[in-house]
């Protein structure tokens, strides 16, 4: 029964976690400034709805912009790499090196360069999702069934048309898995950016609440962030499913 209704299963798991959280608070007699119970967090959410909503919109804008830009740059990089063997030799090592850099460490520099506004957070999100998108899509582009390419070659297709008309559609499922990952990673980038330096956004609000020992408000902002990320993941997932259905 539960296996056939995944959304019900999710609901039960969620309720179970909430109950465990409440039980922990009650049984361990934790004071609210260490760990508030779910009821208290809900109350904080209700009392500060306008405030959280405003900051949430800022974070959402950063995440969406970062996701869109990171997906586009990642996909274009993969297409360029797939089309040009010299580019592969030069750019792939660079890509790997960028992955060896802890992106978190770049956040203060980005804030220094781009200021406290939206763009340092957008760029953080872009940096975090760029590699998974480019890497997944590139792998897909390089794994086109050989027979399709042989046939296109005999038909006299130039390489760029082979890329656009055969390799790209064939790699859409791989791009979709990259995008699904990106949907979950993008909020991480935005929040790191907001922690390092911001005057708005859920990450900023969480830091502020934490500093003033308003742990219930911090958890409320965190809950909104989790819901936002899950919703984004679901939406991107639906979009990707539709994309994959078109090519299979």
């Amino acid at each position: 029964m539960m296996g056939r209704r995944p959304e019900l299963t999710g609901l039960f798991v969620g309720l179970g976690l909430l109950a465990a959280w409440q039980a922990l608070v009650v049984l361990a007699e934790l004071p609210p400034f260490i760990l508030p119970g779910p009821g208290r967090v809900a109350q904080a959410l209700w009392d500060n709805a306008g405030l959280i909503f405003g900051h949430g919109l800022i974070t959402l804008a950063e995440v969406l912009a970062g996701l869109a830009l990171g997906a586009v740059f990642g996909a274009l990089t993969a297409l360029g790499l797939a089309l040009s063997p010299p580019a592969r030799r030069v750019i792939r090592p660079v890509l790997v090196i960028t992955q060896a850099l802890p992106v978190f460490a770049l956040a203060p520099i980005l804030t220094l360069w781009l200021g406290y506004g939206l763009w340092s957070k957008v760029l953080m999100a872009v940096l975090i999702i760029y590699f998974p998108v480019a890497s997944a899509f590139f792998d897909g582009l390089m794994q086109t069934p050989k027979g399709w390419l042989d046939q296109a070659k005999v038909m006299g297709a130039p390489p760029w048309r082979m890329l656009l008309q055969i390799r790209l559609p064939a790699a859409l499922p791989a791009l979709a898995s990259g995008l699904r990952l990106a949907a979950v990673y993008a909020p991480i980038g935005a929040i790191i950016g907001e922690w390092v330096g911001a005057s708005q956004g859920l990450g900023y609000l969480m830091l502020l609440a934490n500093g003033r020992a308003k742990i219930d408000l911090m958890f409320a902002a965190l809950a909104v962030l989790v819901v936002m990320t899950l919703a984004l993941h679901r939406l991107v997932g639906w979009g990707c499913d539709a994309l994959v259905r078109r090519v299979s």
Partner: protein, 239 residues
Amino acid sequence: MSAPEILLEGRASINGAPLFPDLRLSLVPGGWTCLLGPSGVGKSTILRLIAGLETGAEFTGQIRAGDGAPVADRIAYMAQEDLLLPWLDLAGNVGLGARLRGSQPDPARAKALITRLGLSDHIAKRPGALSGGQRQRVALARTLMEDRPIVLLDEPFSALDARTRSQMQDLAAEALRGRTVLLVTHDPAEAARLGARILLLSPNGLSEIPPPPGAVPRAVDDPETLRAQGQLLSLLRAA
């Protein structure tokens, strides 16, 4: 459209180990040449060399057309897998070649070919909705849509059941009449039915076996054809 003779002269090796020795292979102009042989002897390599495809073998020699014109842009190719693109409907797959060259496929011709191969009920379907035999007929329609004088067939019927296979052989023989066809196959029955010239490739080289009498495609139960089939199988076992 004049269908030229195709000549391949030379030898091939893989990492220094000989694949096939010096040989001279000639394709009947405007007719079917069947290249028969056991697996791994280099049949497909020969076909891919003529097609200008990657083979992984080093070929020393030359490939040319009897009329002296280039071979490369006069070829259509059909493989064992149907190679249909799952995201295109049947008409889209049949017209793929033109679109890959940046021009518009002629929809009336595509439709006529699809109808001729008995697929008109399925024209808006995608390959996933078709049976194996239907899919290979779409592949044949796509090959015909290319309208090339030289057609290279790499075991295109070998994954089909016996009944569908014999029907596809009839259909292909009729549809590709007048073209220079190379059929690579490991099926003696197929070679005996379809070959105007039958060649057996073994590790020692190429030998030509006289085809049975009668026009291609020969009847499946024709005694001469069946005798030739038996003879080909014996030779294949000895190869």
